[in-house]
């Protein structure tokens, strides 16, 4: 029983990470109605920037917030410069560009910071009073950070007019223009926010899995699965989806199949769920009249 609980808690801890990546994906989706396949690589690149700052002697939280700010700007610029020219192009053209961005960011991480695995500090000391038998201080700390981000996003989307405008611009850009929303800038804002969240996720992941250019590849997939499971338009659902995926992955790996096939089986189970509930577990059903 003890071992089983341990697997669950360990899964939850991983799930927090998947949840934050899922959150970033949902963020971009809410703003742009696109899934950004380059999200993971951008997050890794941000984490490398933080690492470089800490190596240069910056205090952790200074580097943290600076990286988040720079990532926000970076995401905004990527949208304004790279994506704006193809705003009107078909969805799949955008998908190919995302794949291109993925390759470029991945290569940049490798070129600027080389491929040796690096360790990344955690701001939550190991022997803190928070640590317990089931959760390390870092895992609890990460959960706390994620909670803060989540609450902030929820408040932003639900209660601010900019949040509402972003959602409107993503759903119906033509009508959004007719109420005076600068749709193009809303897209940029969405990308900036997503990049910032991705940076946070990366900096929370790195102490656990160590930092290298391919750090986020598998995590992105789990994050994507978590986002879909929770409903692609629901930030809270995304986080819960991420937690579920984390637990599922762990349980499958420990009790059902070895490590190689657990990725596949986890995905199959998720796909199965989606065929039963195509909008995700918490997604809102959008009614369209013919």
């Amino acid at each position: 029983m003890e071992a089983f609980l341990h697997q669950i808690f360990s899964g939850l801890a991983n799930g927090i990470i998947y949840g934050s990546v899922a959150l970033a994906l949902v963020m971009i989706y809410q703003a742009t109605h696109h899934i950004n396949f380059a999200q993971g690589e951008m997050a890794t690149f941000s984490t490398f920037i933080a690492w470089a700052l800490i190596q240069a002697g910056w205090p952790y939280w200074g580097a943290f917030f600076f990286t988040v700010a720079v990532s926000f700007l970076g995401g905004l610029l990527v949208q304004r410069i790279v994506l704006r020219p193809i705003e009107k192009a078909p969805v799949l053209t955008n998908v190919i560009v995302f794949i291109g961005l993925l390759l470029i960011f991945n290569a940049m991480s490798g070129m600027l910071f080389d491929h040796t695995i690096k360790s990344f500090a955690s701001p939550f000391p190991k022997d803190s009073v928070l640590a317990s038998k089931y959760f390390s201080a870092h895992q609890l700390g990460s959960a706390g950070v994620l909670l803060v981000v989540l609450v902030g996003l929820f408040l932003f989307f639900k209660f601010t007019s900019v949040g509402l405008a972003m959602r409107a611009a993503a759903q119906n850009p033509d009508s959004a223009k007719l109420v005076g929303i600068r749709v193009s800038w809303m897209l940029g804002l969405g990308w900036g926010l997503a990049a910032a969240i991705g940076a946070v996720a990366g900096m929370m992941v790195a102490p656990i899995v160590f930092l290298d250019p391919n750090m986020m590849a598998g995590i992105l997939l789990y994050g994507f699965a978590g986002a879909l499971l929770g409903g692609i338009d629901n930030p809270l659902g995304a986080v819960i989806g991420g937690l579920v995926v984390g637990v599922l992955e762990n349980l499958l790996g420990a009790y059902v199949i070895g490590t190689e096939l657990k990725l596949t089986v986890a995905l199959v189970l998720i796909v199965g769920t989606l065929t039963l509930r195509p909008d995700g577990l918490f997604g809102k059903k959008v009614v369209t009249r013919v």
Binding site: L92, G100, L102, L221, I232, E260, L267, I270, T275, P278
Partner: protein
């Protein structure tokens, strides 16, 4: 079309055909091998385009069908001694059934949900192929080594022999030609219109009597079958199959090929095949240290230049020429 135009079309077509037939004798064997792969990929891309371009169902997992086709051919040739040309229809049938089955759960998914599901399929395939239980058939991690078929007769042209690669070139050319002809025939009739109707307005299509579930699953099946056939041909051309030859990258490359060539375009598949075969090599030559970054830049640049793919650009150019002469 004016009679004069038709003469020009015939002239250029014949010239093109002659050029294609002579081509393998003008270049070295390795180049011919690369051309063969272009043809193989073109067929695979054609298959995917039917599903994604014409019918709007996104698949990030067509590499799976390619792999299954390849392994079907390999196992038939290696373990059962089936002649290479017979493996192609076999692969089509196997992958058609498989695709049809995959098509059913796909009915409830759309857009990114379908993308994820098919992506999961693509990820699963190398793992499944390595599974120890079926190692006897699949050759496990090492895969299966096949023998390239010898040409049925020998001759020399322009001082070059009809090598195995050159023979396979003509074989692949014939197969590709046949597949493109079949696809063109299929798509320009009722089926083609139905595909596009389902893509653009599923509700209206249903109201007009198209049985949506069966139709979409059939589309999946045909698409998978064609890509599977390409996989079988690929196995023959490369003379080797292994689980790691069919990673997710293949599925992504096929999708790139579809978009680069032009969605819902049959001739576009050829340009897609050329792109995914040769552009990675070009990227490699430009930068040894970060070829992926160059490839990414080339991808993005290509999308800026031709957001509707090569055929989209050709169409736009033609339209501009026509309005110029008309005005």
């Amino acid at each position: 079309m004016k009679p004069l135009d038709r003469k020009w079309v015939w002239f250029w077509s014949v010239l093109l055909l002659v050029g294609l037939l002579v081509l393998p004798f003008l270049v070295k064997n390795y180049r011919v091998f690369q051309f063969n792969l272009v043809l193989v990929y073109a067929i695979a891309i054609l298959g995917l385009n039917i599903l994604t371009g014409f019918n709007g169902q996104i698949s990030l997992g067509h590499g799976a069908f390619y792999a299954f086709g390849a392994y079907t051919a390999a196992i038939l040739m290696d373990k059962l001694g089936v002649p290479y040309w017979a493996t192609l229809p076999a692969a089509f049938v196997v992958c058609f059934c498989f695709g049809f089955l995959v098509g059913f759960p796909a009915l409830r998914l759309a857009g990114h949900y379908l993308a994820l599901a098919t992506f999961a399929l693509a990820l699963a395939v190398p793992q499944l192929l390595k599974y120890k239980g079926i190692e006897g058939m699949t050759g496990g991690v090492q895969g299966l080594v096949l023998t390239k078929p010898e040409p049925p007769f020998s001759f020399r042209f322009l001082d070059q022999p009809l090598s195995a690669d050159r023979w396979l070139y003509f074989f692949s050319l014939a197969v590709a030609g046949l597949m493109f002809l079949l696809a063109w025939n299929l798509l320009r009739g009722r089926v083609g219109r139905a595909l596009i109707a389902v893509r653009d307005h599923p509700i209206a299509a249903t109201a007009m009597g198209i049985n949506l579930p069966v139709f979409k699953s059939m589309t999946f099946g045909v698409s998978a079958g064609i890509t599977g056939l390409a996989g079988a041909l690929g196995a023959i051309v490369v003379a080797f199959v292994s689980p790691d030859s069919f990673t997710v990258n293949l599925s992504i490359f096929l999708l790139v090929g579809v978009v680069v060539g032009g969605l819902a375009s049959i001739p576009g598949a050829i340009f897609g095949g050329i792109f995914i075969q040769f552009v990675p090599n070009i990227a490699d030559e430009i930068s040894k240290s970060a070829p992926a970054a160059i490839y990414g830049l080339l991808l993005i640049g290509f999308m800026y230049l031709l957001p509707m793919g090569v055929m989209g650009g050709v169409y736009k150019f033609w339209m501009r020429m026509r309005t110029k002469t008309a005005g």
